[in-house]
């Protein structure tokens, strides 16, 4: 089963009334949605408000979601529209006008600093990126390859197993151990004062 199929399974659960399934979708996509919203609204607190509003709109619109597109593509459009509406409401100009609104992968990082960004938020973002990259480099080869094939190439466990010539169960274990190793480093960052671990959920 691929990640998109997993998302669709969660969506079907939500459509049957399972709110915990929507919680899982929020936990999975909140960082991506927040990153997207921050292309428009640089203030971290305001961006979180807009991301929250986008998720609530998505929840209310989910009964009409038929699964013709991937869940994140659909969520992406809702988040973009919510951010644009927020900008109109606040009568402010967006950070950039040349964003491709149809394809999230086309959206590139814009200027990073604005007067509304807090030094703490910037420091945390930098630290997260640096920590993840260093932790990846420190992984044993088999773990690093497994997580890269999964996260960057988007391969299924079965395809990774064929590529690495090992059982699917081994792939499952390697990806988990890779994540755990990176997560240990991340928790040190949050516990180190740049952010409380309990805040990140």
């Amino acid at each position: 089963m691929r990640a998109e199929a997993g998302d669709i399974a969660l969506v079907r659960r939500v459509q049957k009334g399972d709110k915990a399934a929507f919680d899982a979708l929020v936990l999975k996509y909140q960082h991506k949605v927040l990153k997207l919203v921050q292309r428009y609204v640089r203030n971290p607190a305001e961006a979180e408000d807009i991301a929250q509003e986008a998720f609530i709109k998505a929840y209310r619109a989910l009964p009409a979601f038929r699964g013709d597109s991937a869940f994140y593509t659909w969520l992406y459009r809702i988040a973009i529209n919510t951010a644009k509406n927020a900008l109109v409401a606040s009568r402010r100009r967006p950070v950039s006008y040349d964003l491709d609104l149809q394809d999230g992968s086309q959206v590139q990082a814009q200027t990073r600093l604005s007067d509304s960004e807090t030094p703490e938020a910037l420091a945390l973002t930098d630290e997260i990126r640096r920590t993840v990259n260093e932790a990846i480099e420190a992984l044993p080869d088999d773990l690093r390859l497994a997580i890269v094939l999964r996260e960057l190439e988007g391969l299924s466990y079965e395809d990774i197993a064929k590529t690495m010539e090992c059982p699917v169960g081994t792939v499952r274990s390697r990806i988990f151990r890779a994540r755990e190793a990176i997560d240990r480093s991340l928790r040190e960052v949050f516990d180190g004062g740049l952010g409380r671990i309990g805040d990140l959920e």
Binding site: R2, A3, A5, G6, A9, R13, V14, K16, G17, D18, K19, A20, A21, F22, D23, A24, V26, L27, K28, Q30, H31, K32, V33, L34, K35, Q38, P44, A47, E48, Q52, F55, I56, Y59, L62, Q108, A109, R112, A121, L124, D126, I128, R129, V132, I136, R150, E151, L152, S156, Y157, R172, I175, F176, R179, E180, I182, L186, G195, D199, L200, E201
Partner: protein
């Protein structure tokens, strides 16, 4: 939280956990903040790896959304809304028609009953039925038994011949379904009476 649970979480994030285990994990996620934190960080790791730029860590989004949707109605329940103006007008028109029909029935039915001898006879027959026996009188005897009440002296319904005559007189106004069902009922009840009332020539097809 054991490594086994976290490994399931990792597979769940990739859409590689079977449905029954996903359902159990979702239940656990509802009540396990540590597990929710792990899911959030695992997804953050993926977002950072796939991103060219920085990825901000969402701190309060999930908790706030979770609290907000907890107040939302359950899926499938329709939200209440105020009716639109045209819907109110349509509803008012419908009520007015229904009220008119009801008023007409109240005014016309007594006249029909009083003018039509067959219907009047039926109504009178119902009116002449003996009064309902009080419950304490029915169960007065020590030997309580389920006994059919005695038949009243007055006729309980319309005599078949009179009903047949009434049907013949009003045959043209009845719907085909009523004609068939009532006529068939009469024939099956007492074919001879209906034969007397309706000449054979009228029963034949034209």
């Amino acid at each position: 939280m054991t490594d086994r649970i976290k490994e399931q979480l990792s597979s769940f994030l990739d859409g590689e956990l079977p449905d029954p285990e996903s359902a159990l994990l979702l239940k656990r996620l509802e009540r396990d903040d540590e597990l929710r934190g792990a899911l959030s960080r695992y997804s953050l790791i993926g977002a950072v790896l796939r991103s060219d730029g920085d990825v901000p860590a969402a701190r309060h989004v999930a908790a706030r959304v979770s609290a907000a949707i907890a107040r939302e109605p359950v899926r499938g329940a329709k939200l209440l809304r105020m009716p639109r103006r045209d819907e109110l007008l349509r509803a008012s028109a419908g009520l007015a028609v229904a009220a008119g029909v009801a008023l007409g029935a109240v005014l016309l039915v007594p006249q029909v009953v009083s003018q039509d001898p067959v219907v009047a006879a039926a109504v009178m027959a119902q009116a002449e039925l003996p009064p309902v026996q009080p419950v304490d009188e029915v169960f007065d005897d020590a030997a309580v038994s389920y006994v059919t009440p005695p038949a009243a002296d007055a006729p309980a319904g319309i005599p078949p011949a009179e009903l047949a005559n009434y049907l013949v007189a009003h045959y043209g106004y009845a719907s085909p379904l009523v004609r068939r069902s009532v006529g068939a009922g009469l024939i099956s009840d007492d074919e001879s009476v209906f034969a007397e009332a309706v000449p054979p020539a009228e029963m034949a097809d034209p």
